[in-house]
Symmetry: C2
Subunit: 301 residues, 2 copies
């Protein structure tokens, strides 16, 4: 197996591209995919300040690394979720990465700064742990971006993540969620722009990137996520990919090319009835936003 670009011995094959790469050319391939993602969706301009949502896992650390490798400067934000040893190890790796690369990192702790952890919040609000976690992270990343004067929040969602979310939303034809499944969600009243520069790279590619760049990441999956529906959709897509390589990317990219434009009106209609939360000022359709309601119930007693 030879590298498609330079004919040296290959170290990784990317079946979707029907190609294999040596180490250097694979890293080049990853950078090119991110460059292309940023360019195709005009994710940010030269003046924009970028905040990377970092979890300590392969995707977010690789994203932070890749933005640097492409010459962009970005600060990081880590949110400690209070999930025992898993959270502790994730934070250690995140801090070590920031120190090693001389990057600015802000750390927020759900238990220390907001008085609850994900498991408690899930139990007390009868949400799934992933639901409580996602709500908390979306809110806190957005608030940190606005407070810190950042224009853009970048997250490490990769091709596998995005395709799995797309499959879930498609199986239920949640047209309002589908309309917002955009690699670059524009800023709105009270919302920073949100971008997903890794949407062209698969899970396996991100793990290989970290190994080849010697990035020490949290390998364990979050123990709260086991058996959730998102992982089921990933399995389904992996099975389809085994039967027909390239189908996962065709699913996501075909959606972005041909379906998202048809959904645009739905995306715009949705921003209509929003006003500031009476507690935190974040936009909400009710009086108090979902995050403040969750924190109220999770941190009490």
């Amino acid at each position: 197996m030879k590298c498609r670009r330079c004919k040296a011995p290959a170290v990784i094959d990317v079946r979707r591209h029907n190609a294999a790469f040596c180490s250097d050319c694979f890293l080049h391939h990853c950078r090119e995919q991110v460059r292309r993602a940023i360019h195709e969706f005009s994710m940010f301009g030269p003046e924009d300040r970028i905040l990377v949502a970092v979890s300590g896992g392969k995707d977010s650390l690789a994203l932070w690394h890749l933005l640097g490798a492409l010459g962009y400067s970005a600060d990081g934000l880590y949110i400690g979720l209070g999930i025992g040893g898993y959270s502790e190890e994730s934070e250690v790796r995140t801090r070590a990465f920031a120190t090693e690369h001389g990057l600015a990192l802000q750390v927020i702790s759900l238990p220390e700064d907001h008085g609850y952890d994900v498991e408690t919040a899930a139990q007390r609000t009868r949400r799934s742990p992933c639901g409580a976690c996602g709500l908390s992270k979306r809110h806190l990343f957005n608030r940190a971006a606005l407070d810190g004067g950042y224009d853009v929040v970048a997250t490490g969602h990769n091709l596998d993540d995005e395709a799995a979310v797309l499959l879930g939303n498609t199986l239920r034809w949640e047209t309002d969620y589908l309309a917002r499944q955009h690699p670059a969600l524009p800023a709105g009243r009270g919302f920073a722009r949100k971008i997903k520069p890794l949407y062209r790279l698969g899970e396996r590619e991100m793990a290989a990137y970290c190994v080849l760049e010697k990035i020490d990441y949290q390998v364990d999956e979050c123990p709260m996520a086991a058996g959730n529906r998102h992982l089921g959709y990933k399995e389904t897509l992996n099975e389809l990919e085994r039967r027909s390589p390239g189908s996962k990317a065709a699913f996501l990219f075909g959606f972005l090319d041909r379906m998202l434009p048809l959904l645009d009106p739905a995306a715009h209609a949705e921003a209509a009835d929003v006003h500031p939360c009476t507690e935190c000022g974040e936009p909400t359709t009710g009086d108090v936003c979902a995050f403040c309601r969750l924190r109220e119930r999770a941190a009490t007693a």
Copy 2:
């Protein structure tokens, strides 16, 4: 397990509806689903003449039976595909059903009337057998409807069929195919209306309907279809259904409710550049339609 409607002992459960039925109430349930399908999509009016595409399998025989049970009169058309014993047995069962119920049946034979069978057509045109078969059937059903003065061609596509086709088209975001995946495709220049009155009933329900109504159908699957992509999509959906009952129906019905309206413009744009085939007069975008080209190549030599 008791019947949801009359509390008698149940003979079948329909997990999607979280219900079980006795024999009579199950048959009532099937008729109601078809009645609702016909009504919701205004499939035909009292004056319309209906031609049912009959294969001898459970779905098309049940459809023919159900239309009669609902008081509609419909003639049948069987197309012999020349697939050895499978085709022979299918024809025997179709003829027996028509005779038993005093229904008018027209029979066309691909080998005798058009000089080819499905397997030869597939080999000589380098199509899949299912591709060659589908093309032949669509053309011949439509022509028979127009020649015979029928307004509507009714096919036995059930919920499982429609959901599997939808999954395939969705995974590739074939927006033009998606726009035409309608339970009642309106008539166009040179095309009869096409309706799918069974789209609300699953495969298992159709088999049970035949058993309870003592309809003797061809139980074997077509030997040419083994391993095709459509069956793979059915497996995928069955797996999703096992994990989350009702997801198959939610996928298909959600599409019809919320996505099909967004795709309407694509459906209309598509009818633009069509004119009569120089051989058979059927609408085509080229000079000679795909069926006449297939027959020319398959029947020669």
